[in-house]
């Protein structure tokens, strides 16, 4: 592999990784607070992409209106799902909540099949994202750096919210102990709702960027990214936001590099990515950034 090819693969790996990272944050936030693996999260990614698609195609909105609007609407859908399918079950055993999450996932996928149709749709990239950039021998399209920069900005906003604002402080407190936080006069329902909103907004952004990178959307498009992002979250240490980002980048780069260095293994890249995951979890069960938590009594 030449140096140019290496740079090209690195750029592709990082842009794929930043999408995994965006989606992984939603998993990790919800898990950190509710100890719930929100299996419908991947389908929120799909909804985000479809809302943006219909905004552009059906309502003729320019992308700079349609995309933010899609993010806001999808965040709203995330809140509705939390309100309808998770909050009523919160006091029940974890397994109920988990089953409900799987149910929501199936529901969204099948609703997608019925409403949007099972056939893939072409997602138009805004023109400025389609400019070829030449790096030596290699060429990437302008959407690659745009995805990376957008993701970086969203990460910065998220880190600011979590670490520097009151609601962020409440979220962190909730992840330690919901009941005690409630006793301190914090409206836990609202904070949980806010976490879902934030997670879904990032998922929608991830979905739109995913559709820009792979301009074909279908009702099952969220399944694979959702699964990979979940793995990225576990890799980074589930419950830890910085860990989710790191896990996402790591997974994206490793996936691309395995195929780039060993083209013969190209059909088995998931297998190799997951072998790495298993090894990492064997030697570091809490993930890269995860802390060993004392069991709560």
């Amino acid at each position: 592999m030449t140096f140019d090819q290496f740079i090209q693969n690195l750029a592709n790996g990082i842009s794929l990784g930043s999408l995994y990272a965006l989606i992984a944050i939603g998993y990790t936030m919800v898990y950190g607070i509710l100890r719930l693996i929100n299996f419908a999260h991947g389908d929120i990614v799909m909804l985000g992409a479809y809302v943006a698609f219909y905004g552009v195609v059906m309502f003729m909105l320019p992308w700079w209106v349609a995309f933010p609007l899609a993010i806001i609407l999808t965040a709203g859908i995330g809140v509705i799902i939390e309100r309808a399918a998770y909050r009523p079950l919160r006091s029940f055993p974890r397994i109920n909540l988990f089953t409900s999450a799987v149910a929501v996932s199936f529901l969204l996928e099948n609703l997608g099949n019925v409403i949007f149709g099972g056939r893939p749709k072409a997602f138009e990239r805004p023109a400025f994202m389609d400019i070829a950039l030449q790096i030596g021998e290699a060429s990437v399209l302008s959407y690659t750096p745009i995805i990376i920069v957008t993701a970086a900005i969203l990460f910065a906003i998220l880190i600011y919210i979590v670490n520097r604002t009151k609601v962020g402080m409440a979220m962190r407190a909730l992840s330690k102990d919901i009941e005690t936080t409630g006793l301190m006069g914090i409206n836990t329902d609202r904070i949980i709702m806010f976490s879902f909103m934030l997670g879904s907004a990032l998922a929608a952004a991830g979905g739109i960027l995913w559709a820009i990178k792979f301009p074909q959307i279908n009702p099952l498009m969220g399944v694979m990214p959702g699964l990979k992002a979940f793995i990225a979250a576990v890799l980074g240490g589930i419950g830890n936001i910085t860990g989710a980002m790191l896990g996402g980048f790591l997974l994206g780069v490793v996936e691309i590099m395995i195929v780039a260095f060993f083209p013969d293994l190209s059909g088995y890249r998931d297998a190799f990515a997951y072998v790495i995951l298993i090894l990492l979890l064997l030697f570091r069960p809490t993930g890269i950034m995860g802390e060993v938590q004392a069991e709560k009594v």
């Binding site: 592999m1 090819q5 090209q8 693969n9 592709n12 794929l16 399918a85 009523p88 079950l89 006091s91 029940f92 109920n96 089953t99 409900s100 799987v102 149910a103 199936f106 529901l107 996928e109 099948n110 099949n113 149709g117 099972g118 056939r119 893939p120 749709k121 072409a122 070829a132 290699a138 060429s139 990437v140 399209l141 990178k213 792979f214 301009p215 074909q216 279908n218 009702p219 099952l220 399944v223 694979m224 996936e255 691309i256 590099m257 395995i258 195929v259 780039a260 083209p263 013969d264 190209s266 059909g267 088995y268 890249r269 998931d270």
Partner: protein
């Protein structure tokens, strides 16, 4: 406190039910196209299993356009009404076996049409073979679909021939460096890649011209790493489904690939062009049929009826769906019985049937031997280039 708990419990039960229903919704609510067919004991049930959702949905839906038209034209056989039942196999092998079981055991189908996708058909074929119900495949081209099967037939040619068609095309275009990229989760794709390689070796005397052979799998959307290794080839042969192919072509062009894209019949879907955009322009692939090169007496009326109904020209998948359904009805007529075994024997004896895709004779392996066409993407349309004889 108690009533609230009960409502919550109810809520979770409802959710559970929703889960179960939604998990099997497409299979449990077949889009029965029964029209005004009366539900009598006399009804003959023809089952259809096709991918209506999932990654091959476009193929299944195109096929159903043809099947539905055929059913409209031919809704009775032996003086008895036909009830056609469609079950979605969701582009999935396991779902295909389930769909087949459902058609046979619950719907009591005496004969089956389907499915787009060789892997789907192979999974379904195991079930139909065990149950002794005859199946007429519309477009599954992998040889293994009918190999060793007494009850599986097909209206299309098979992949050893289809692989040769494109190898010959490349050879005649004097292409020296070809890269193959295939989907290792699909028997169709793996098989075609292998047959292409064999034919290439026969034509050129060596495999030197095949400079790379790389893989991807179902669900992959990022082909950049694979393409990085094969950018310098003069042509890429990618015998996969239209969705993968469209993304692959787009990414290859974005990375600066200048050569020719070559593919196979699963490329024939409007999505190849709508998603592939300008990257798909100039791509060539083998297929079963082109309305521009209609061959039999049945071809013209079919194109007219199809255009009148759907306001578009029929694709190869639609034409094969039409032929497959008509072949089943023809077999029932010749068997003069709705007994699956008798229908099977009549199907196996199909000779010189004048289908819309050509003259169909089922050979000893259960396959049709037919011409292939080569199509090119030109100005956002599939254009007919040439016909290749077997």
């Amino acid at each position: 406190m108690l009533p609230k708990k009960i409502t919550l419990n109810l809520f979770s039960i409802i959710l559970l039910i929703a889960l179960m229903l939604s998990a099997c919704a497409p299979a449990a609510t077949p889009a029965v196209n029964s029209g005004d067919v009366p539900e009598t004991g006399d009804t003959i049930v023809i089952g259809v299993y096709e991918p209506m959702t999932g990654s091959q949905a476009a193929g299944g839906q195109q096929t159903m356009q043809g099947v539905n038209l055929a059913y409209e034209q031919k809704g009775t056989v032996l003086g008895r009404p036909i009830k056609m039942v469609l079950v979605d196999n969701r582009s999935d092998k396991a779902e295909s076996a389930t769909a087949m079981t459902r058609l046979i055991e619950y719907e009591k189908a005496v004969a089956i049409v389907g499915s787009y996708g060789s892997s789907n058909s192979m999974a379904g074929g195991e079930v139909s073979e065990a149950a002794g119900i005859p199946v007429m495949g519309c477009s599954p081209t992998n040889p293994l679909v009918t190999e060793g099967k007494q009850f599986y037939f097909r209206a299309c040619f098979i992949d050893p021939f289809q692989g040769r068609v494109m190898a010959k095309y490349a050879f005649e275009k004097d292409i020296k460096k070809i890269a193959i990229i295939k989907n290792i989760s699909q028997d169709y794709s793996v098989g075609l890649a292998a047959f292409f390689r064999t034919s290439w070796k026969e034509l050129t005397g060596s495999e030197d011209g095949i400079v790379a052979d790389v893989n991807y799998q179902d669900g992959d959307q990022d082909f950049t790493a694979q393409l990085g290794a094969i950018k310098d080839a003069e042509a890429i042969y990618a015998p996969g489904y239209f969705g993968d192919a469209a993304l692959l072509m787009k990414q290859a062009r974005e990375m600066g690939f200048k050569g020719l894209f070559m593919g196979s019949d699963a490329w024939e879907a409007p999505e190849l062009i709508s998603i592939g955009g300008s990257a798909a322009e100039g791509a060539v692939f083998s297929s079963h049929y082109s309305a521009e090169a209609a061959t039999t007496a049945a071809s013209k009326p079919f194109v007219d009826a199809f255009t009148a109904k759907y306001n578009e020209t029929p694709s190869a998948m639609a034409a094969l769906g039409y032929d497959a359904y008509m072949l089943v009805v023809d077999a029932i007529e010749r068997a003069n019985s709705a007994d699956p075994k008798a229908i099977r024997d009549a199907m196996a004896a199909t000779k010189d049937y004048q289908g819309v895709t050509g003259s169909i004779t089922i050979n000893e392996t259960g396959d049709a031997v037919k011409d292939a066409v080569v199509l090119e993407v030109k100005d956002g349309m599939f254009k007919y280039l040439s016909t290749v004889k077997p």
